[in-house]
Structure formats: C-alpha cells, structure tokens
Symmetry: C2
Subunit: 376 residues, 2 copies
C-alpha cells in the first residue's frame, strides 16, 4: 500500500455514487457497551440482518475486534467474510475509506481524519485512535493505495455524491466548530471538489433534529439517481424537524446540480419520534462517569439512512405506521432493486442507522463516467 | 469461507511443493517477550530482511497484533501488506494454513489443530488459542474455503512434500506423546496421505539435536527438487547431531519416493554449535515464573531451515565459516533462484528459523500435477 500525497481530481480519480456498481461492503461488528445496550446482542442481530441482506448481491466484509471475532464468525453466515480489526465503535460509513476510481479500472482509498464527530469540542467519545486507523488498515488489507487526507476532518456519512459531478453536505456538520474551524466554507468546498472530484457542492443547511453527528447529510437527504433526491419530511409544523427539513427543501428547490439540472425532491416521511426508554438506559454502560442516553431522549430516526447495494435497498423500519409508506416510495424510486426493511431500533440506539454502519467498495473498471464535459 | 469436512484427496486437492509457483507468503510479526530478547527489536529487523527478500518475487503479508501494527507498518516497506491479526507468537509455518490446490485453479486451506508443539505434555507455551485460530482467520480474509482437520495435531514445519506424491516427516515429532498419542504410525500415514494427497510418506527417525519442536523435518531435511533433498550434516562424530543425521541418511538411502525413484541426498553442512549467551537471557522475559533460555544452552541452528520463494532461496546465516559453503551448495541446487542469506541468530533465539516464520500461498491454476498415474 502506497500512501499518496497527490489529489484524486488531478490523478483522474472520482468517488462513484452509491447506486453505481459495488464490489462489496464493509461493516464493523458492534461491541461498545456504552453505545449498544445489553451487551450489544440485539444490535448484533440487527447488524447480521443488514449484512445478510447486502450479501445477497455483493461481498460483505465484517471487521471484528479480537475479543468478538469468534462471536461474529458464529453469528454471520459463511458467505460473509469476517476479518480481525480493532475499532472504538462500529461506524464503517464514517471512518472506513471513501473509495475513488478511475477509468482505467483502478481504485484507491481516501483516509480522512476522524475525530469522533467533533473531537474535544463536541465529539461523542475519546479516544478515537482505533477508528481513525481503520481506513488505512482496510486499504492495506485490500492492497489498495490510499490518499493521505489527514489534514482534513471528515466522515463518510457527511457527504453524498451523485456520480455525475455533484456532492451534497450540510452546513451544520461541515462548518461545525469541532471539525475544521480554520477552514472557510469556500476552502472546504474546494477540498471536497479536489478529493471527490466533483464540480458542485450543494450545501444543505441542516440535518435531522438531535442528530449527534452534527446533522450528517446521510440521515436527511440522499441521491436516488442523478438529479433526484429523497428528503426526510414531516408535515407536522409543531415538530422541530419541520423547520430543518423545510430549510433543506428551499435550498434544493433553488439549486442546480453540476450538470445544470434542477433537483427533483421526493419527500420521504419521517416515522413518529422514537424515544429512549428506561430499559434501554439500564442496558447501557456509562462513559466518563456519565450515562450516554437519558430516558425520554429523542433519537434521530429517519428512513433516509438506507444502503444501496447492487441488488437491494436496505432501509430501516421502526415498527411505525409510516414504515410501509416509506418502503413503497423507495420501491418506486429504485425499480430494479429489492427494498428490504430491517427493524433498526437497536441500531438507532447507537446513534445512527443502516447507512452509517456500512461503506461500499465500488467496483473497479465498471464506473466509466459519462464524458459530457463535467470536468472541462 | 466454508468449513469443509471432506478430504482433500477425495476432492482432488493436493499440497504443492514449496518450489512450485507461489502467489505469496505469510509472516507473523514477532512480539512475545519470552521468545524474542530486548523487546523483539533485533528479531524484527531480521524478520524485515526476510520479508523484503521474499517480497522481491512474491506478495508478502505480515500479520501483526493490534499493539504492534503501527510498528510493523512503519518498519516494513510499502510493497509488503500488513494486516491486523492477533497471535501468541510468530510461527507462520506451523499454524498458518497448509494450502492445497486442484487442477481447476482452486485453492483451499487446511486447518490442523495446533497445541504449541506438544500441548500440556511438552508444549512450549500455554495458551495457544490465538495461534490456533490463525489458519481459519487467514483463510476467511482470503475468502478461501478451509478443511477442518482439528481432530489431528500437526504443524506445517513437521511436513515437507515433493509435489509429486511424496511427503517427508520425522518420527520424533509425529509420534511424540504430545500430539496424536492415540493414533498409530499407520493411521498417521493414512491421515497425511488423505490430506496432503500423497502416495508415500518417508519417515525420517530424527531431526536436529535440541530442536524444541520435537525435531521438525524442516530443520533437518528438505526437498530441493523431486527425488532430491538436502540433509543437515556434520562429520564430527563427537557431536550428538552426528547420530541423528546418520540415522536419517540411512533411511533416505534405502527409501524410494512415490514415483519409485531413489533419493539423491545432498549433505548441507551444519554451522558450529550456536549457544545462548548471558546477554540474551537477560533480554528475555520469564514465562510461568521460569526463564525460557539458559546461558550455554545449544540452539538448533541449521542451514536447512530456508524458504523457497518464486525468485529466491532465503536462507539463514550465523556468521559461521560454513555460511559461504552452505550458500554455495544451495546456489548449485537452485540455479534459477537467487540465494539470499539473512543473518538469523535473532530468529534462532526464538526457537526456529526462516522456514519456520514463513508459509507459502501456492499459486492457483498453475500447479498442474504431472499425470503419470501417481494417484492411480
């Protein structure tokens, strides 16, 4: 594995959209006792369901620390690969590599700096050293060269791309004080353009209410095709989420993507608010002498937090009346894929959802970008 | 990764000889403080030299535990892959998979039971649980199916094959009380025939004097081609090794291989005895309240403990007058390969040598066995 100090855009590499073809998917086994209640047993069952659904159409690799390796191997079916790799927690989206590919069939990783969603300003745990090493470790295991982008704090869940020159992020996250406070919005835009090889960055103002990641884009809005997004939505004006989603909608209605298209917005309903109960809190270990959850706390539940595999869209369900409606919308938007709904409350308790616990490995040599002058 | 309960011979898989083409080589990073003196620093330098010499002609993967991963990554050049994998010690030969291939270009691993060279009878450390998991972990990482041979205690260093139907082992090791005491010599022979897919097992009586592995074959005798071996040899009749080597020579002179050939024996001189000094003992941690080495103890030094890579023979040197002579003999026996001598005293202190710390991954689809009725 070579450590590269050049820039993907200059090298002709770009980040493909999630709906382009994958070689596989990375997941990290849940273990952390202050993230996952009652020994992470319920979380593991949910992770296994996600992994199995993805593995129907692409290779899944689950990374487990030494202590949990045997349990992971036992709980996962044989077609899923388990490798030993230590971590602080289980958010493959946020600290596994962002992969970029070129038109010659080569693939490389990007190793951003990870500081647990805000470092010592408002990060969620300390230390984060094991997580922060995983991108390089995984690239080394794949024998894949990696871009050193460690001067820039970024999580994979805070970016989405359409595969045709457009990225989408939130101001709430990327301009937060705990990430890159010495960079301006314009400098961050240039960084994203250079590393993801995009021509346009759409800045949504906000994300999901109470989202501990400083409101990652992947919980509120996702590309379903070039020029089309789903936006987490509520019609309840009393819900604090209403203003946040509305602010995003206004931006999306004004914006054009890198190709000059207006953006078609599909509203994806939110489930009724999901709250932490007493029993969950009892099942969670404390961190730094404090509980990590409080009874009655609202969790950042959203159907937008889905993973697009080669053959499926694996989306969360919450046992809510909106589950079926949200599923139907995604079925219409992804007519060639099977939509699989996994009951995800036990993932949500950890602070994220299905998109957050997965990271796609794009296929090599099959991701030719259309040539119409996007990078002219 | 599927766990297979069938038999390689019945499935058409066989173990290739070490001099057949490789895809790569596995090494485990040294760490254990009671095996490797002074924080394993000198051992690491020697391991790096071995890895670099092998990496000139095949891919090398070094497995390092979490705590040592960064050091391994820093000390090894970028063309060598480093993966996180926990172990009890660093003997890839003995507990990484024995790989078998078929003529359709498929490869599988064999997972023997490893009990630290004799278990609770006369094993060298306890516990050995991490080592014993490595074969499966490595196969899983490679996405390679693995034969479950855990009802049989065997180390990779206790077997050699010629690639044409012959295996070679020592009675001292394979009939030892700490391995498979309930199996007869005939039953063990049948087991080896079935799993390695050979027709003949040559039983040498002994190995190298004081070899802690119960005298592994790979320290005393190795195939250099079908029908040809090198045998560790001394002309000094006062040396306790003399009787051991002579006993092996007598067997080799009487035996024929699976193809009916007489075996051509090339004597490879032994270096002058290598003894443990006071300084080394001071640098070693104790185990079970006892020192692991005693000043004046003789180590099992032998030039036979070399690794055959695609382009080289990587052999030990001891700073002995015989170093050059042994190198010259191997150069004559391997005319298409470069013979690289690595000063190996710091590996020998751990109890083995270059062959012991390596395990080849045979190439797929390039190992067609000649068809003349060997398995008829």
């Amino acid at each position: 594995m070579r450590i590269l100090h050049s820039i993907p855009r200059e090298d002709g590499f770009r980040m493909p959209a999630e709906y382009e073809e994958h070689e596989g998917c990375i997941i990290i086994w849940p273990e952390r006792a202050d993230s996952w209640q009652y020994g992470a047993v319920a979380a593991r069952r949910a992770f296994v369901q996600v992994a199995v659904a993805i593995a129907e159409s692409e290779k899944v690799t689950v990374c487990a620390g030494e202590a949990q390796y045997d349990t992971a191997r036992e709980m996962l079916p044989p077609q899923i690969r388990v490798v030993e790799m230590s971590s602080n927690d289980s958010w493959a989206r946020d600290y596994m590599p962002t992969f970029v590919v070129n038109e010659e069939g080569e693939r490389r990783g990007i190793d951003w700096y990870f500081n647990a969603w805000g470092g010592l300003v408002d990060g969620l745990y300390f230390p984060w050293d094991k997580d922060n090493k995983m991108a390089r470790k995984f690239c080394d295991m794949m024998d894949t060269d990696v871009y050193d982008a460690r001067d820039f704090v970024l999580e994979g869940g805070s970016i989405h791309v359409d595969g045709e020159g457009t990225a989408m992020v939130t101001e709430a996250c990327l301009l937060s004080a705990g990430r890159n406070p010495f960079l301006t919005k314009e400098q961050i835009t240039e960084k994203l353009k250079a590393y993801l090889n995009v021509d346009k960055v759409i800045w949504l103002p906000r994300g999901i209410y109470q989202d501990e990641t400083n409101e990652h884009v992947d919980n509120i809005c996702a590309f379903t095709a070039p020029g089309e997004v789903v936006l987490a939505w509520t019609d309840n004006e009393e819900d604090p989420q209403y203003e946040l989603s509305l602010a995003c909608l206004k931006v999306l209605n004004q914006e054009r993507d890198a190709r000059g298209r207006r953006i078609k917005v599909h509203k994806l309903p939110l489930p009724a608010p999901v709250y932490v109960d007493d029993d969950t809190c009892e099942g969670l270990a404390h961190m730094d002498m404090e509980p990590t959850r409080t009874p009655g706390e609202r969790l950042a539940a959203s159907y937008v937090n889905f993973y697009i595999s080669n053959g499926a869209v694996v989306m969360p369900g919450f046992g809510d009346v909106k589950d079926a409606e949200a599923k139907k919308i995604l079925e219409e938007l992804f007519p060639t894929r099977k939509v699989v709904q996994v009951m995800a409350r036990d993932i949500l308790i950890g602070g994220g959802n299905i998109h957050c616990i997965t990271q796609q490995i794009p296929a090599k040599g099959k991701t030719k970008r259309k040539a119409e002058g996007i990078n002219a």
